[in-house]
């Protein structure tokens, strides 16, 4: 039964439950970053480069400084004197806070103005005079390593090209051998173009340096407040106990709000320079042009199979466009993230991939947009080439998948590139999706329509995600291991508070995490307060991204809550003058075995724990516990998606008529919230498949710098989603939960593209790159598809 059918509210434990946070959001009483207003606060604005690649000859700030409302103008030269012109990136490179030598992408930060109000700060930007010596821009990633290409990163000693890294995974020799035995090999170039998470709230910060106490408070809509605090301490040399990061309500993140952007550092410097709190909130163009993009993977996939459709191996070569600085937020050991999970959901012995990273004159970034550390790219590639193979073999793509899916008895399954998939019943999930869709009927309808010249397509995708990073011994970001803390404290009256390291951006943590404590302790969810987003009041942890809140922080909370119950049992024993071993626990109540009338509730135990009751030797008073959860493995949520599209043969316009999504994320803590997250991710998939791209012209001008150019799906592009579920718990997670935040974003683009390619079969089209705008589809139908990452020139 889905959440929308089950309307009953769960007052204790798991189940549908209306969200706690809604009460303030519905009344306009949220507190987002731009709502923060401190006494005496000033406003900052960033001057950005109009050029993609240029040497800075001079910067004249005198006219801006003379503006009556301007309090400070900060340039790269000032930052250099503070050793803050460059900061470490998230991937062992550096990022310029303000450009000192060159600008390396359009929109790069050049100067910062602090003024009395936001309009005056903007006015003053126009008064700064920068003299640029414009250089040729490196735009096409496939040409970034050509010998005559300008070197973007001449700030790095001895750098003579635009190469960043080479990385590989899998077994090259075994893969070659598999390909030699194959009846059929299909090769396909696939671009996952640059897109942007584009949360509706842009990024921003309010920095407040108290010169008397030496305490720096940074309000910032960050998904990772604790990691930010530590990085500020390392970068700025400030003592960590004197830094407090407060992450208020966040208007969507999707990965965009993980990193530390130059604007945040500039707000801090502005506050230090002026002695006042300084707010900086970027505008939409700044968000799209300068903050963390996603994807930009140029991939070649090769798939080998027998004539009857048994997959033997997959080989992948990737060219990764990382922009001007390598600032992709991946765990240290994984420069291409978890891309090598590209072997997907199928049973075959051999796989190999290489990934080459290059610099271009584009904005840096690269983890963002609900991608689970590059699993999005991996899933898209494998699901596309499996469809290409089906086309080559003239097999039904669902049948080909069913034939090759991992079988339930193979779990835990060790993949050819070294991942241990935790649990799954893949065929059941695909069958569920096909039943919901009415797959044979859809194929019959398609045949009829094709006969009439109408273009209808059915697209299938099956994805496996890897989420919930760590374990910390394998996964860290800049040396910070990916483990998260949680604290559960029961008050004397039996109410509770739970403190989290992770930070919600709309996922409903205040509701879900209360439900986890409730599920374990029996205390009603309404009696449990969730505290998060304040580094002075919560335990350390790496934050919310990569779908890790439930898999990691949710586990920490569950373990801490169980420790509370364990302690409560000892205290209940003392209260009942019985051995704890003689007690039974029925969620919320202890009773003496064989004498169910003699009970103590968790609330009674909480009061006793704070009272004069004599406690057993070694048992401290009060009722609380904590846990730092280091995941033993990643979790592997998965799902089967089916998209049904109609393509207008005259215009190339694609309409997604139906979308069927069957997800298996283990047990659902709050099914209403889970379904909502899936809905959002499915819309992302339609956006990326059909509309979203950040392309660049030959001079490096960003062609997706506003919502007029960067198209996002509206209610008209989205169908009414049809959801189903299967439930296969994770064997290693305390709740069996696998995480779901990014599943639909990861799995859905391939279903839509596969459906459009299916519709275009009569035209002999096997693959066209996203986004499948009407122009791209129409041109594909007429044999002239274009490269979507570059300006159209013909």
């Amino acid at each position: 039964m889905t959440a929308t059918e089950a309307r009953e509210e769960a007052t204790v434990g798991f189940g549908r439950r209306i969200r706690k946070e809604d009460a303030r959001f519905l009344r306009g009483r949220g507190l987002y970053i731009d709502d923060v207003k401190l006494p005496g606060m000033l406003y900052g604005a960033v001057l950005r480069s109009p050029h993609a690649h240029a040497r800075i000859v001079s910067i004249d700030t005198s006219a801006a400084e003379a503006h009556p409302k301007v309090k400070a103008v900060i340039t790269g030269a000032l930052l250099e004197s503070l050793k803050l012109a460059w900061i470490p990136s998230l991937s062992h490179d550096v990022v310029a806070v303000l450009a000192t030598d060159k600008v390396r992408f359009q929109g790069q930060e050049v100067a910062f103005v602090v003024a009395e109000d936001r309009y005056a700060a903007r006015d003053a930007l126009a008064l700064i005079d920068v003299d640029y010596d414009v250089l040729p821009a490196v735009v096409d990633a496939t040409k970034a390593l050509d010998p005559d290409t300008p070197v973007i990163r001449d700030d790095i000693d001895g750098k003579t090209d635009n190469h960043i890294f080479d990385w590989e995974a899998g077994d090259a020799a075994a893969t070659d051998a598999a390909f030699e035995q194959a009846d059929v090999v299909v090769t396909q170039d696939v671009l996952y173009p640059r897109v942007h998470p584009a949360p509706l709230e842009t990024c921003g910060a309010v920095a407040d340096m108290d010169k008397v106490t030496g305490k720096l408070t940074i309000w910032c809509n960050t998904q990772a407040p604790h990691a930010h605090r530590t990085l500020y301490a390392i970068v700025a040399g400030l003592p960590e106990q004197k830094i407090r990061v407060i992450s208020p309500d966040i208007g969507g993140g999707f990965g965009n709000k993980v990193g530390i952007y130059p604007g945040y550092v500039l707000a801090v410097v502005g506050s230090i320079v002026t002695g006042k709190p300084v707010k900086w909130v970027e505008d939409r163009a700044e968000n799209l042009m300068s903050t963390s993009f996603a994807r930009d993977y140029h991939m070649r996939g090769e798939i080998a199979a027998t004539r009857d459709g048994r997959i033997l191996g997959v080989r992948v070569n990737v060219l990764a466009d990382h922009g001007a600085f390598n600032n992709t937020a991946q765990p240290t050991k994984f420069p291409a993230g978890f891309f090598h999970v590209f072997t997907g959901s199928y049973d075959y012995p051999a796989a190999h991939c290489t990934v080459k990273g290059v610099y271009t004159n584009k904005a840096p970034g690269g983890v963002a947009y609900a991608c689970s550390f590059r699993v999005t790219e991996a899933v898209y590639l494998v699901e596309r080439i499996v469809d290409c193979l089906a086309d080559e073999l003239d097999m039904d793509p669902a049948e080909l998948r069913m034939k090759n899916l991992l079988r339930p008895e193979q779990f835990p399954y060790l993949s050819p590139t070294g991942w241990e998939y935790d649990s799954g019943d893949y065929p059941k999930t695909l069958r569920t999706a096909m039943d919901l869709a009415g797959y044979p009927e859809l194929r019959a309808e398609q045949a009829e329509k094709r006969a009439r010249g109408e273009l209808m397509g059915i697209g299938v995708s099956f994805f496996t995600e890897t989420v919930g990073a760590g374990p910390r011994k394998h996964m860290d970001i800049l040396g910070l291991g990916m483990a998260d803390g949680a604290e559960v404290r029961i008050h004397p009256t039996g109410k509770a508070v739970v403190r989290l390291s992770v930070q919600t951006q709309g996922q409903g943590h205040e509701t879900t995490f209360a439900q986890i404590v409730s599920e374990v302790t029996g205390i009603p969810s309404d009696d449990i307060e969730v505290v998060h987003g304040d580094t002075d009041n919560t335990p350390f942890g790496l934050g919310t991204y990569g779908s890790r809140s439930t898999p990691v922080s949710g586990a920490a909370v569950a373990v801490a809550a169980r420790r509370v119950v364990d302690k409560a049992k000892i205290i209940a024993g003392a209260m009942l003058e019985a051995s704890p071993d003689d007690l039974e626990w029925n969620r919320g109540t202890f009773s003496i075995k064989g004498d169910p009338a003699v009970t103590k509730t968790i609330q009674e135990v909480a009061l006793a724990a704070h009272g004069p009751l004599e406690l057993p030797e070694g048992v401290e008073g009060h009722l609380d516990a904590q846990c730092v959860y280091d995941p033993p493995n990643l979790t592997y949520p998965y799902g089967a998606y089916i998209a049904v599209v109609d393509v207008d043969a005259g215009t190339g316009v694609v309409k997604v008529r139906r979308f069927i999504a069957v997800d298996d994320c283990g047990p659902r803590i709050n099914p209403m919230i889970v379904e909502g997250q899936i809905h959002g991710g499915l819309a992302d998939g339609i956006g990326m498949a059909l509309m979203e791209v950040i392309a660049f012209d030959e001079d490096g001008n960003c062609l997706g710098g506003s919502f007029m150019d960067y198209q996002l799906p509206t209610a008209l592009e989205c169908p009414s989603w049809e959801l189903g579920e299967t439930v296969t718990p994770s064997p290693h997670h305390p709740l069996g939960a696998k995480g779901v935040g990014e599943s639909a974003t990861v799995g859905s683009p391939a279903a839509v593209v596969n459906a459009v390619m299916d519709a275009l079969k009569p035209f002999g089209v096997r693959h066209v790159d996203m986004p499948l705008t009407s122009a791209q589809v129409w041109r594909a139908m007429h044999g002239r598809p274009f490269r979507t990452d570059l300006a159209i020139t013909d």
Binding site: E21, D22, R27, G30, D34, D35, E201, D249, G676, A715
Partner: protein, 165 residues
């Protein structure tokens, strides 16, 4: 220059720069931060407020253009401590996640229902198609507005902008 308007049933008078946008007037001058700002180009609709009963994007309306008008923001949806059915619908049907687009969506929904009390899902999708949501995939917003349509406020308490203006 001076502007006078009625915001959420309260008369307000302020001295402003002529170039001040309505969204900044509401947020910075009046402290009504429930109205958000998201794109500058009238595409996202998180800044939608009701002006004389008509939803407008307050990032592309000058405060001066609202002079003499009646403005309602999300803070003015609740009446006498009771949520508007649209607010209740968004809560019951999980029509919001991060909450950033929600005020604008609800203002548009209120205007739609004032005009057309029983809209079809297709009509609802059309009505909110000038606004973006990045979290919900729209389905639950449609359901939320349908919920409001089937649970109207009792007629006695009806004081919609369309009627009062």
């Amino acid at each position: 220059m001076q502007v006078q308007m009625t915001v959420n049933d309260q008369p307000v008078t302020r001295e402003i720069e002529p170039r001040l946008l309505l969204v900044h007037f509401l947020r910075d001058e009046l402290g009504l931060t429930g109205t958000h700002w998201g794109c500058d180009t009238s595409n996202c609709g998180v800044c939608v407020v009701s002006m004389d009963g008509v939803p407008v994007k307050s990032c592309t309306v000058l405060a001066a253009m609202a002079d003499g008008r009646t403005v309602r923001t999300v803070e003015g949806l609740e009446r006498d401590g009771e949520l508007d059915p649209v607010q209740q619908g968004f809560m019951n049907e999980h029509g919001l996640q991060c909450g950033f687009c929600t005020p604008g969506m609800m203002i548009t929904a209120r205007a739609l229902l004032d005009e057309s009390p029983d809209p079809t899902p297709a009509e609802i999708r059309e009505a909110i198609s000038g606004q973006l949501c990045r979290c919900t995939g729209y389905e639950n917003i449609v359901r939320a507005i349908r919920w409001a349509a089937t649970h109207p406020r009792p007629a006695a308490a009806e004081t919609s902008e369309a009627v009062s203006s």
